[in-house]
Amino acid sequence: MLKSSALAWLPLAIRSANRVLGDQQPMTANGGTDPYPIPWLDKNGSHNQPAGANLEPSHIYHFKGRVARCSTFTGMGTDNQGNRIAFGSPTTDYGVMQGEYWGARAAQQATFTHI
């Protein structure tokens, strides 16, 4: 008796779900193609890769390709008020990664920069 009552709503629920999903096209569900961060965290709890000797140059995990990395910039510039303002510090770092990475369960090709 209880079973029969408990299941009595099912046909209505299925019809309702079909109405909601009726307009949607079949699709894959493999995750996004955004690259994965390097898993290890830095001292601030972020997926940031410091630049330096024996440290990994890429910011993307599951990656193979060309990389360039740099840090500890120094330079000068001028703002729109004519003030001379320096840029760069030991943590001012940039990088570029070009090649293949793994995303959405497949190999992807792209170029990314860390700025």
Binding site: P37, H47, V67, G75, T113
Partner: protein, 143 residues
């Protein structure tokens, strides 16, 4: 950017892309032809215009306000030829390349506060650490 010495108390602007929902840190796609690599592989030139970034002067404070900004830049890496190899099997990465020099010129704008800044020419900047080369990591490390 700093007024005076490059110490946190003197920082007046800090420009970078937002952190992605995945945790990917200050990384943005480079448009086609944004990166030019010389035929001998010894010079990388990266140029991008009007990249959406944020200005967070109080970075890395968690409550640092992020103001929308734009950044245009050119960066040039040149290999010195000195070989470098970094590998850490426990972290599944291997880098093989060379040391390099790197120079940068850039412009930034923060429209909402009427601020803009332009660096001196490329050849007046320098970085104390730079590399170019090839890397494998993650699933590709063991293949």
């Amino acid at each position: 950017m700093f007024r005076g010495l490059a110490v946190p108390a003197n920082q007046i602007h800090d420009f970078h892309p937002p952190i992605a929902p995945s945790g990917l840190y200050w990384v943005v796609p480079v448009p086609e032809r944004g990166l030019a690599i010389s035929p001998d592989g010894k010079t990388f030139t990266l140029e991008m215009q009007n990249v959406p970034v944020v200005d967070q002067p109080r970075w890395p404070a968690l409550d640092s306000i992020a103001t929308p900004a734009r950044m245009t830049f050119k960066m040039v890496w040149k290999s010195t030829g000195e070989p470098v190899r970094y590998e850490d099997p426990s972290k599944h990465f291997r880098f093989i390349g060379t040391r390099a020099s790197c120079q940068l010129e850039a412009q930034v704008e923060v429209p909402s506060i009427g601020f803009s800044w332009k660096s001196d020419p490329l050849n007046t900047s320098k970085s104390d650490f730079a590399l170019i080369g090839e890397e494998v990591n993650g699933r590709y490390y063991d293949i």
